[in-house]
Symmetry: D2
Subunit: 347 residues, 4 copies
């Protein structure tokens, strides 16, 4: 809640965060750190488009604009890094932060592929302690947390199946089939791993005839099947041009019951012959509080000198499953996932 | 609503129905025809267990017990047949009814396999007009009818996917994996064909690690994937030992929206720290009115001299898909369905 | 399900019903008895508009048209009476039926006032046994029955309050404020008495500024407060020009929990940025099955020689409460209800 | 997110808040300001129980304990005041804060009665600008905000009625009937004024026979009727020993539709024959985010040098309605509310 002319805020001991990337996600994180999160402030913004970085920095007291991430990290006023640049830039930024032992919050994907993710993991293992949290923010959503607690507490018995829906109103130009896996289903991949505490061992993709609302070349929707190390099965409807709203749902089916998250709620209206309410239109509507909680958790941990939350291992495993998923999408065949051995550091 | 000592009811022109089979389903149909349905009465009950048939007949005015279906059909007081005997007995009963040109309501399955179903179809085609209605009673459920109307009216655009759940509390002794397809999923097979107006062209079955509530040898639950001639995809969770209730749900995903049926409803209670209500415990709870509507529709049509509703073709197609499903269940492989040419009589 | 040319149906022992009144409700009951109800047929229809009666009778096999109810009752082919004429005609029809000891189903109101209801009750008491069932069909609705069972079973503890909503889309021309009580709230009056097993002892009416959708002279909506002999309190929103649908809801608040009936259900649709479904548009949508169940119950009992369901006492008590309600509506003051002693015949 | 040993946080320009009262609400606000709210820190806590104040202050970096509010306000490190002491102490604290021109967030009630509230209002009017925000935090709840927007936008037409429920699990020892109005219904009083933009002109209270769960001397539940200057009518069920949970609901009925807030939501579970979920057990469960949003709004405004949100006028009006409500509760009669003229400063 700092405002121009009020001087630098956030407290002498506030986390001083360099935000890399000032696109939609990056600038939203700048706003969040500046106005919502307790105990942090934005001391640097970095964008290869220097003018854009300047414009963002101008609105934030005590914030300097950079075009180079390493330069920003070397500035005295930075002691933490939030990476919200495009995926291909993540590896370099992560390695630079590790080199300086700075805590990082890295938007998903950790990196665009398993191989680069592995390099990042090796660097962090070499560092000897966790320094990066990956932005799988579903883990911070109230209903996901309730479902996790219910499953962990045994309330449904052992989980057997997950039925997931991931629907977006429409895709922007240039959206590809691989992005349905890498940008959308990646969330269900992480949620499946996290909810069940199991790795994903195989992926299959089944495609119905596409919607006429799908752009040319995009077979939308698709049904993605995930098999896990514990023998559970998750099916994910991914439909990125569903037209009516942004909708994320998950039903866990256990031995003794089932539980569903993501039903629309809020105001219930009777009017014009209909009952019901509004469907969220984008992820901000749906997950605003999860993002706030995620960043606050990262800030709190960083100020205590530790890094928690989704790990580089989680980022790597998701990347490996996504790669298998994209192959399955192309081949039509069930595709197994092979992971490297899990370093002890990741429990 | 006829009662002992009140004489034979149902009207001089009432349909006089011979009910074959007096197990749970048969005796429920006897009750329904006797007490709920308008314009029909039960004039004969047939069971190989003659004592059982007698006991049922004793409770119904003007009803005679038989152990032989043909003998009952030849009695003067029978002009319609309801088949509720075990599946293997259906073919003979259907052929006997066709031979006498009697309208038949045949509980599903039409017959236990595609080959016998084909013989039944040939006999009816030879007869030259429809005489059998198959007991796919989902088509008479209010919410299924609403979904059908919504899809047919274009309210969701073209249907792309169906997500179906079919859950039973527990299985009786002797329940086999094949019965998960033949007795349970057969309803979703018919519902998919009917809702979409398309044939099913391939079946796959994926099995997670079974529930510890599943009897030995039963891999329960399973996910069955149905592909249709129009390129739609239906996934069916079949879970016959879910423990918590009888639950049938279906979400149709179209180009412009989705619609779900089967949410629990009824009284909404706040008590003991919980909100919610009771889950139906069996198909009678869930589908009583659909059964009533189905039988009434058959009686009404029969009294007008016609047969409508799900046809022998529908019974045959379902049998062919079930056969492919059972093969897919065993092999683990996607299995195509091949149907004979559709006789013009089935439009 | 009888059709022209098929002869007289319904069984030799079927109840042969004279339906008095062929307006919306009467002709719907003719259809119901003719096509839905088991064990009954319509043998006579009576309307002062003889042409109208003829047209209705023409569509029903074995049915004769009359303009005089007593003449119809004296015809050989009548052994039961369903009264669906306007309220002022009820008393004479009831007394005529009692004089012939015929079972009667009388649409609500029993009579238009407590005084005439009392005369009807005296006639039935003199007869010495119940012969009239009053058409309070809420008692036959599934959710009301569930709520009654929950309350009677002690699931909520003692009932303390009822919150009721009674909403209609719009009123026909000529609808008066008194009709808000006599035609609409009368259902909540009976439901309150029946659910709680208590008499209503006082009525108050509070009127907010009327909706601009209300016709001139109609203060719509209103809040009606009912106090009961057991100290419970029911509030009823009656809003007969709510515009959006026909909606009847009731929440019972007990010592240990609450339960609500009347939430809209059925197909749940996501489309055009909204989730939800359709609100019923009239009482036929909402209560069709309750009407069927009510008439079937009456027919079944009549064929066993008895009369059950809501009694003349219930009709009288409702009339007395309505009279107090209309006085309260006019005076703005809390108005006590005084009932005569309950004849032992009504238990 | 400051932790021991990390020094004083919150930023050089952070609001430095003195929190008066360290009971349940006060200590929760200390935690909130310390760990959740951006741009503020707790520099002082005040409690007449000095030991208690010390214990709280010990857990907060840079926070000093006081037993005297004025002394704390005079300390250099305080530039804002949050009042969470018992109601009788509010007037003095408010006047002390006004004397120092400090922004105040005062938990409801503003003061325990209309007369003292009037004195506070006069003091603020004399100051010439708003300095106090009253803790009516319903105005910060997402669903209330949605309902307010719907009403203001004309989506329901003019509002005619509100149906409100306010249920608590159980009352602590010493809870009185007057507290049902002053502590519970006061929220619905403010919400009614705010949602409708109208003053409340009369109050009536109707009491059913009390629940056997109600402590001796507490007639619980009650129905409170509020009439507004625009002719709308709000009914409020207040039931402070409902046993099953904490539940706040409000349905607004407008000329063209109705809208309800407060339906339970979150995870939807099928298990043990039931569908549904958990009811919130206290106001923290239900309104946590509303409290966060309220305090953040106050902090943000204070740092901009202004005071917004519910005003002293709102606090006074609520106090006047509460007084009438308590009189109505005792007398059983409809009781009019008389307000002083609204100072222009309060718009």
């Amino acid at each position: 809640m700092k405002h121009e002319g009020e001087g630098v805020g956030g407290g002498a001991d506030a986390l001083r965060v360099a935000v890399i990337g000032t696109g939609r996600m990056g600038s939203d994180h700048v706003r969040r750190l500046d106005r919502v999160i307790s105990g942090a402030r934005v001391s640097a913004v970095i964008d290869v488009d220097g003018g854009r970085a300047e414009r963002i920095a101008d609105g934030v007291p005590g914030c300097t604009a950079y075009t180079d991430a390493a330069a920003a990290m070397d500035a005295g006023d930075v002691n933490a890094v939030l990476i919200a640049s495009p995926g291909p830039a993540h590896e370099a930024a992560l390695l630079a932060a590790f080199a300086r032992d700075l805590p990082v919050l890295c938007e998903k994907p950790l990196t665009p592929g398993a191989e680069s993710a592995l390099r990042v993991m090796e660097a962090e293992v070499k560092l000897g302690h966790r320094r990066a949290q990956v932005g799988f923010m579903r883990r911070y959503d109230t209903e996901y947390l309730q479902l996790k607690a219910l499953l962990d507490g045994g309330g449904l018995g052992r989980a057997l199946m997950l039925h997931c829906r991931h629907r977006n109103v429409a895709t922007p130009p240039g959206f590809t089939e691989a992005m349905m896996i890498n940008d959308s289903v990646v969330h269900e991949i992480d949620a499946t791993r996290w909810l069940l505490g199991q790795e994903i061992t195989a992926v299959s993709v089944v495609k119905p005839a596409p919607s006429s609302a799908a752009p040319d070349g995009l077979s939308d929707p698709q049904l993605v099947l995930l098999e896990t190390s514990g023998g559970a099965l998750a099916d994910v409807e991914v439909f990125v041009n569903c037209g009516f709203g942004y909708q994320v749902q998950c039903e866990a089916v256990g031995e003794r019951g089932s539980a569903r998250l993501g039903d629309a709620h809020g105001l219930y209206v009777n009017a014009a012959g209909r009952w019901g309410g509004a469907v969220a239109q984008d992820y901000v509507d749906r997950f605003r509080e999860a993002y706030d909680r995620e960043v606050q958790h990262w800030v709190d941990a960083a100020r205590r000198g530790v890094t928690e939350g989704p790990s580089v291992w989680d980022g790597y495993a998701a990347a490996a499953v996504c790669e298998a998923g994209v192959r399955a999408q192309t081949s039509g065949a069930r595709t197994e996932v092979t992971l490297t051995a899990r370093p002890p550091m990741y429990g």
